[in-house]
């Protein structure tokens, strides 16, 4: 089936080559293009919007987290500052009491020291030492240990170096019997009176870490974040995992912290991103260090991430679904239309096209339907015309050797010959011979006007013998008309008609006038007779092919009209003017075509 189709329609794309172009054709399909572009646009917009949102939110969240953390650390810093101030206040109180006391061993001082000691839970001990390291006095119940090595301890040496209050690094208090405590020592060189004698001594107050601990423990920086305190030398004063650090199991990167007194930075030394905020206590030089885990700061960021991720996924899925649906909505009627058109193209002109869908597509299908209808009409017309043409030509072919005419004419010749009218016989035979020659004219359908006029002249000459001079005829033609072309045998049926139906019935002598002239590039040939004329009904019948010319030579007037119409176009042909008892004039109008163009035209006409 396909093979024969391919054979019949070589220009049509063949199935064999369709496979290769299918994919690219697929890619160019409306549905895919719409789907892809719609999805792309939707995704792009979603991605851009969400990334913008993400950046904005993430930045804000991060800033907030940082700010929050800094505020917390500031708060701790403030609290600690207050605490340290409290410590120095206590120290000053103790100092005042010692210096103002008239004698260092007065029981009043002893009592005051005791009161001071019990006023604060975080006080471990108050003690006064001579610059040589001898214990002078202190809170009650303190027994010195041996081997304390106090002269080498930092609080002792610091007090001797400066006159200001000095804060020691955290250390073990090993001076007094009882427990070993981790303490921070505050010490200062002061003056005191002993037995009326002014002496110098080092006042020492030890604080344990309880309050610092309490202050720092409250700090919560996310789930894992924490704060720790360093002294100015980098010793850890407080750390939530102090034990682990002291046992060497954990490590805190303090070097970058020590370099600055006020700083926030991102630390990656542990392999994890940690946000570190440093604040420094003025008096002690301690640094409060807040450590927040970056991934916790950005928890909101991650949440947002997740949300946006699912949001994007949903949007993309929706976009794909919607675009697939939309493109299907648009493409499917088009595809249907295409399939129908294909069917039509394959020859089934009767396929009705009823595609519903978008307005444009519906409109397209309606127009296509109209076009199809028109094509069907034209096809029918062509079929009809072709048939008529073939029939007409057949009739012409028959009229070329009209046996009846020949028989009649030969009878006339015989009669003339019997009468011995040789001259006339010769004229008759000559005319007959020429008549037939032009009739056949080597099978050409197109002849010159000259030949056509000659042909009708010979015919009239022959007929005038037959009608025994019952009529006259006159043929006039402009010279420029003569070489122009015409279809042959268009005059003879009309003249025949005029003779048999017009003049033969008329009692008067007939007159047939034939004139050919050129008007506005049209050849106008008029055949007029003074015969009986035609009634309107007859005229009508002739034009619509209702009647056949009874006893006519065979080629009807209508046939002439048809042939001219088919050959030159429907606007050309015959016009009739007729009046009863007056005569009939038939005008033939067709375009003037020269010999050369005529040949071209003929050639074109034949192939088309």
């Amino acid at each position: 089936m396909t093979k024969s189709k391919a054979y019949f329609f070589p220009l049509r794309p063949q199935p064999g080559t369709r496979g290769r172009i299918r994919l690219s054709a697929k890619l160019r399909s409306i549905q895919l293009i719409i789907t892809l572009s719609f999805t792309a646009v939707a995704v792009l917009v979603a991605v851009i919007v969400s990334s913008m949102l993400y950046n904005k939110f993430a930045k804000t969240a991060e800033e907030n987290a940082n700010l929050n953390m800094q505020q917390i650390i500031e708060q701790v810093n403030y609290n600690l500052e207050l605490y340290v101030k409290g410590m120095s206040n206590i120290f000053e109180t103790a100092e005042e009491q010692v210096t103002t006391s008239p004698s260092i061993d007065s029981p009043l001082l002893y009592e005051r020291m005791d009161t001071l000691m019990s006023s604060r839970e975080d006080l471990v001990s108050i003690a006064l030492f001579t610059p040589q390291g001898r214990y002078v006095t202190g809170t009650p119940g303190q027994n010195m240990r041996v081997n304390t090595q106090l002269q080498s301890q930092s609080w002792f040496t610091n007090a001797q170096k400066t006159t200001d209050i000095s804060y020691s690094a955290p250390h073990i208090q090993n001076l007094f019997k009882g427990q070993y405590n981790w303490v921070v020592s505050i010490s200062k060189m002061i003056e005191y009176k002993e037995n009326g004698e002014l002496k110098r001594g080092i006042l020492l107050i030890d604080f344990n870490f309880r309050t610092i601990d309490q202050l720092s423990r409250q700090v919560k920086l996310g789930k894992r974040g924490y704060a720790y305190i360093l002294d100015s030398l980098g010793n850890i004063v407080y750390h939530p995992q102090q034990q682990l650090i002291y046992a060497g199991l954990k490590y805190e990167n303090v070097e970058p912290v020590l370099a600055y007194s006020f700083r926030s930075y991102l630390d990656e030394s542990t392999g994890e991103k940690r946000f570190i905020t440093v604040r420094t206590l003025e008096e002690t030089g301690w640094k409060i260090v807040g450590v927040a885990y970056y991934d916790e700061i950005v928890t909101t960021k991650r949440d947002l991430n997740q949300f946006l991720f699912w949001f994007l996924a949903a949007v993309i899925l929706c976009a794909i679904a919607v675009s697939v649906f939309l493109s299907w909505l648009i493409a499917s009627p088009i595809r249907k239309l295409e399939r129908t058109v294909k069917q039509v193209g394959e020859g089934d002109l009767n396929t009705p096209i009823n595609v519903s869908g978008a307005y444009e597509v519906e409109q397209l299908s309606r127009r296509f339907n109209l076009m199809l209808q028109r094509i069907r009409q034209l096809m029918d017309q062509i079929i009809y015309e072709q048939e008529t043409k073939r029939k007409g030509e057949l009739e012409v072919l028959q009229s070329q050797i009209n046996p009846h005419f020949l028989y009649n004419t030969l009878n006339s010749v015989i009669r003339l010959a019997e009468r011995g009218k040789n001259e006339e016989v010769i004229t008759m035979i000559q005319s007959l011979s020429k008549f037939f020659r032009i009739s056949l004219s080597k099978g050409n359908n197109i002849i010159t006007v000259q030949e056509e006029l000659d042909h009708i002249r010979h015919y009239l000459v022959i007929q005038s013998f037959r009608f025994k001079n019952k009529f006259r005829f006159e043929i006039k033609a402009q010279d420029e008309v003569l070489p122009l072309q015409t279809i042959k045998l268009i005059l003879q049926p009309i003249v025949e008609n005029a003779l048999y139906h017009g003049i033969e019935m008329s009692p008067d002598e007939g007159l047939i006038l034939i004139s050919a002239e050129l008007q506005d590039n049209l050849i106008v040939i008029r055949i007029s007779d003074n015969g009986i004329g035609m009634s309107k009904e007859t005229l009508h019948n002739i034009l619509n092919g209702g009647s056949k010319s009874a006893g006519g030579s065979g080629v009807g007037v209508r046939n002439v009209n048809e042939r001219i119409g088919l050959y030159y176009g429907r606007e050309f042909g015959l016009t009739f003017e007729s009046e009863l008892e007056e005569g009939t004039t038939i005008t033939i109008i067709f375009p003037a075509i020269g010999q050369n163009e005529g040949q071209e035209n003929t050639a074109g006409g034949e192939t088309s």
Partner: protein, 341 residues
């Protein structure tokens, strides 16, 4: 045709997915603490500063790694059967992991194998156990600790004199040991310390280890043994004690008898009372371990083993010799007094 479109769509989806996901970075990796794990820690004894410190270390790690720590210990180091029962109990409770400080090297071996049979990882802490199924050992090198102790004591005695050793493997088991010499029923760490000490002392011909006594971890018993030792050997110049209770007992006796100028003593471990003895000169030196680290690391490695992370076969947390001179070094302060609060 349909499938091609499907494939194309999927491809596009994948592409979009990739572009989208590439914008998001992965969450950082650390030991996940979402799941609470049951880890049972069974040590030798439920009293004494040393074990308390081990427990604190373990608790610190438990808090950090979201572990529900069950701490169990018999009343005394010599109660091996009790300890075995505790391990069996933990196996029956299907603990996620067991941390064990074995009171007896061989005595606990079988029950450890049993735990391994139930796919419970066993971490050995402080004292090893005679099983190949133990995942890791966290503790100090006891042999080396014994040598350190000997080195210092011999140094203090200027290389000559009689030495008494107070160790802590229970006497009752010593009887068994004498019966079946091939089986080592003592605690691994005690034996190793003693071995290290004796091997070092053997290099000095003028050093005579005249007596080795064993206490079953009670201070009173240690005091009694020290007195006996001093009575039996009036020429005794040096005492080496190889664990905390023995050290405290011996220290008390020497302090009360005022023998600190006559008798040199090298103790073991660092309880606050021991440090006081060290400061007042009763004890000349002490060999310290890292009980806090032991406890912490044992739990940490137990968690790592449960996570499927490769753990080292042996973790040496180290020993250190502390004397009066270096006890106030900042780094030693931190080791000696890990408890700030």
């Amino acid at each position: 045709m349909k499938t091609k479109r499907l494939v194309l769509t999927l491809l596009m989806c994948a592409l979009v997915w990739l572009t989208v996901t590439s914008c998001f970075n992965r969450a950082p990796v650390y030991i996940t603490t979402n799941k609470t794990r049951n880890i049972h820690m069974i040590v030798k004894m439920n009293k004494g500063d040393y074990w308390n410190t081990v427990k604190l270390g373990a608790e610190a790690a438990a808090k950090e790694f979201n572990v529900k720590l069950t701490f169990k210990a018999p009343d005394s180091e010599s109660e091996i059967d009790e300890q075995i029962a505790m391990v069996e109990d933990s196996i029956n409770l299907r603990a996620d992991a067991i941390i064990l400080a074995a009171s007896s090297y061989m005595g606990l071996a079988q029950v450890v194998d049993q735990a391994a049979y139930y796919k419970i990882p066993v971490i050995s802490v402080d004292a090893e156990v005679g099983s190949a199924r133990v995942r890791t050992y966290v503790g100090s090198n006891s042999y080396e600790a014994g040598q350190k102790s000997a080195e210092r004591l011999i140094n203090l005695l200027n290389g000559s004199g009689e030495i008494g050793i107070l160790n802590f493997t229970s006497a009752s088991l010593q009887d068994q040991k004498s019966n079946s010499a091939s089986i080592d029923y003592g605690a691994r760490d005690a034996d190793e310390r003693e071995k290290g000490f004796l091997n070092y002392a053997a290099r000095y011909p003028n050093i005579h280890v005249v007596q080795i006594s064993y206490t079953s971890s009670s201070t009173a018993e240690a005091e009694e043994l020290t007195r006996q030792m001093l009575e039996n050997h009036p020429d005794l110049r040096g005492i080496a004690t190889l664990n905390e209770t023995a050290s405290q007992g011996a220290g008390k006796v020497i302090q009360s008898l005022g023998l600190n100028s006559l008798i040199k003593m090298v103790a073991f471990d660092s309880s606050p009372s021991m440090l006081e003895l060290l400061q007042d000169g009763t004890v000349q030196a002490t060999v310290i371990q890292n009980p806090f680290s032991n406890g912490y690391l044992a739990v940490k490695y137990a968690v790592e083993a449960l996570e499927g992370i490769e753990v080292p076969e042996r973790v040496d947390t180290g020993t250190k010799l502390i004397d009066l001179d270096n006890m106030l070094y900042p780094e030693n302060q931190k080791l000696l007094f890990p408890f700030v609060r």
